[in-house]
């Protein structure tokens, strides 16, 4: 099992590296395609005229005059040792490790921005995942045990509706009902879990519901289908023949076997989740990574976009490693092959 995890981590490291190369290349090359120097996106103000000595100096300071692979190496090595960054107009700052660059637009190091946004996004992602997995598995299991029953029919209609409605519709509707009409919840103002758990819960509950609703339906349907299949397996008959109570048969033997496809789909869905989080954070005005990247794209703040993308990629890869390990925990046959 340990060897399995190590193998997966090594694979993940390679993926992160490839992602960093591709991301770096895209964001470094994109401005040149429009015959603009990347300098413009880094210094957050009108650069000196192209070709002037001042401009060349700036280009040199950021390293844009060097070959691309060397720029990449600089960017990568700069992450791991502190150095000074200047925008050539007097503003100079020291970038601490891990240094993902400095946003002259927000006058903040990129790592600080990400560090502030990460807890918000993690709260949203983890909470919503738990909610949709729990809800989806519960509805799916009950439906799968009694297909065609009233619960099954109603459940499938509700989940189909939930998956069909986009988050930018459900989000405002939830806000309108629970916050503005009935006033059951305060306006969404994020508070860290460590400081004010109750306010954290109150602010996250609606975003969780909106985000989870978009995913839960798929899981309910998938669980229903696999559960129906699993319950007609020979080993379920064996479990019943042993005289096990029904709950043990369903949960320990049936649900456990149905988990494999769920874990697979979950790992794939994490990518979709990042996209959905951007929308959710924007709708609920949660200052997470999605919101941060939208802001950065609007203001053409290249270091921030680059940093957020890399962090999101790492998060996705790590989550996939966890899913892989979970997969091996669920199905012992994966471990040994």
């Amino acid at each position: 099992m340990i060897r399995f995890i190590i193998r997966r981590l090594l694979g993940a490291a390679v993926v992160v590296w490839i992602v960093s190369v591709v991301t770096f290349a895209i964001f470094q090359l994109a401005p040149t395609l429009t015959h603009q120097s990347p300098v413009y996106y880094y210094i957050a103000k009108q650069p000196p005229p192209q070709g002037s000595a001042q401009f060349k100096e700036l280009e040199h300071a950021f390293g844009f005059d060097r070959p691309l692979f060397q720029q990449y190496w600089n960017w990568l090595s700069n992450i791991f040792h502190p150095h000074t960054i200047s925008n050539g107009t007097g503003e100079t700052t020291t970038c601490h490790v891990p240094c993902l660059g400095y946003s002259f637009k927000l006058h903040t190091p990129v790592s600080t921005l990400i560090w502030q946004a990460l807890p918000v996004s993690l709260s949203l992602a983890v909470g919503a995942s738990i909610l949709w997995l729990f809800g989806g598995l519960l509805v799916g299991t009950i439906s799968g045990l009694r297909p065609g029953s009233l619960f099954d029919r109603v459940g499938m209609i509700v989940t189909l509706t939930a998956v069909s409605v986009p988050i930018f519709f459900t989000g405002p509707i939830l806000l309108l009902l629970f916050v503005y009409t009935w006033g059951w919840l305060p306006n969404v103002t994020y508070a860290p879990l460590t400081e004010d758990p109750l306010q954290w819960l109150k602010s996250m509950i609606l975003p969780w519901i909106a985000l989870a609703g978009a995913f839960a339906a798929l899981y309910a349907r998938l669980t229903r289908a696999t559960m129906m299949e699993t319950m007609s397996e020979d080993y379920i008959r064996t479990a019943r023949a042993k005289g096990l109570p029904r709950r043990t048969v369903v949960v320990k033997h049936g649900l456990r076997a149905s988990l494999t496809p769920i874990v697979t789909i979950f790992a794939i869905d994490l990518g979709t989740l990042i996209g959905a989080m951007v929308i959710t954070e924007t709708v609920f005005n949660l200052k997470g990574l999605g919101w941060l990247s939208i802001q950065a794209i609007r203001t053409k703040d290249l270091p921030v976009i680059l940093g957020v993308t890399i962090v999101a990629a790492i998060a996705l890869v790590v989550a996939n490693v966890i899913a892989d390990v979970l997969y091996a925990v669920v199905d012992p046959r994966v471990r040994l092959s």
Partner: protein
């Protein structure tokens, strides 16, 4: 029915049903068991009036083609049919140790299942949960019926694994089913069935998935353990060779009905029902010359939704014309006792049947 031939045999054409369950000393008494499944296409009569007895320490073989109702009978005894989303209709009586299992409640059945009545399934790979260790699956069966610690259950399981002939049982306990070979898996399956010392063991085609050498070992094992535990055993199979080697009595099923039953020698040396003749004729035998080809029974097993009128076997029977008045196609034959304990469901008069067997069937077997 005043057929003189039957009278001379001293067993008039009375319906052949074992004595009523209250008088019967048998451990398991099944009486007129019917299992019907309502489907969109119609009512499937999977089992349609089966009666038999099994004593402790004896082995009953149920033989028949696929779809003849063998497995459904066994699952009805275990109460596995009245389960999730099923609208199965079960009627008749299954008397086990003084209790009628047909009317028993689910908690009552659950207490019996695994503890008093256990089952060995056909395909040990698909019948064991792929995600749990073999030992854990066996001790789970023990823990459900015995209030003991996990360590105690493990000890019992390891002993049981050893008893069924698995080498290094203590370390094999922690293996997963896919790490076992086919024969070892079936042994583990037997260990799982026997871990609580059941008094009734149902083996549903226990050797079908195994190669021949392992088959013999497994059958030997079942026989030995049956003696040791004094269990009553129902062995379901389509392999007549297995029946000949293991069983004391045989019940031949066709189209959900019992068409012939008796002790094993009677069925093998004096079979009376044309279907049983067909089964024997289609059985490969080492003592036959290569030139003698196997004789398959022509036609297909009957649809259990539209069961043939008259005798269930009539569309495939070569001897329909021997019975006057087209009775095979119009009148359902009763199960008639021809000699003590040997019941046959056939319209051909007993004497004539025996002549046909001696003159026409036996030479070609």
């Amino acid at each position: 029915m005043s057929d003189p031939s039957e009278v001379t045999l001293g067993t008039a054409a009375i319906e052949f049903v074992p004595e009523s369950p209250s008088e019967s000393k048998a451990y398991l008494s099944v009486r007129d068991l019917r299992v019907h499944f309502p489907t969109e296409d119609g009512l499937v009569k999977a089992v349609d009036g089966i009666s038999f007895d099994v004593d402790r320490g004896s082995i009953l073989g149920i033989v028949g083609e696929s779809g003849s109702g063998k497995s459904v009978t066994s699952q009805a005894i275990l109460g596995l049919l009245a389960g999730y989303r099923s609208r199965t209709e079960i009627t008749g009586e299954i008397w086990f140790n003084g209790k009628n299992l047909v009317t028993a409640s689910e908690p009552e059945m659950r207490a019996l299942r695994g503890a008093e009545i256990a089952m060995i399934f056909q395909d040990p790979l698909s019948s064991m949960h792929p995600f749990y260790r073999v030992g854990a699956q066996i001790s789970e069966a023990y823990l459900v019926h015995n209030k003991v610690s996990r360590r105690e259950a493990r000890k019992v399981t390891v002993e049981m694994l050893d008893r069924v002939g698995i080498p290094n049982p203590a370390s094999r306990y922690d293996d997963y089913p896919h790490q076992f070979s086919g024969g070892m898996r079936q042994r583990a399956m037997i260990a799982m069935a026997l871990v609580c010392g059941p008094k009734l063991l149902i083996a549903d085609e226990p050797t079908t998935a195994l190669d021949v050498t392992v088959q013999a070992q497994i059958l030997e094992l079942i026989k030995d353990l049956t003696k040791e535990f004094e269990s009553a055993v129902i062995l379901i199979t389509h392999d007549l060779g297995v029946v000949a080697e293991t069983c004391d009595t045989v019940l031949v099923m066709y189209g959900g009905q019992c068409v012939e039953m008796g002790n094993v020698d009677e069925i093998f040396y004096h079979p009376e029902m044309p279907y049983a003749w067909g089964l024997l004729g289609s059985m490969p035998r080492m003592d036959r010359t290569r030139q003698a080809r196997l004789q398959p029974i022509a036609g297909q097993p009957p649809s259990l939704i539209r069961v043939p009128k008259g005798c269930v076997f009539n569309p495939r029977c070569r001897f329909v014309d021997r019975v006057p008045g087209d009775r095979c196609r119009t009148e359902h034959p009763e199960l008639v006792e021809t000699t003590k304990g040997h019941g046959v469901r056939c319209h051909i008069p007993t004497v004539e049947r025996r002549q046909i067997f001696t003159n026409e069937i036996l030479p070609s077997l």
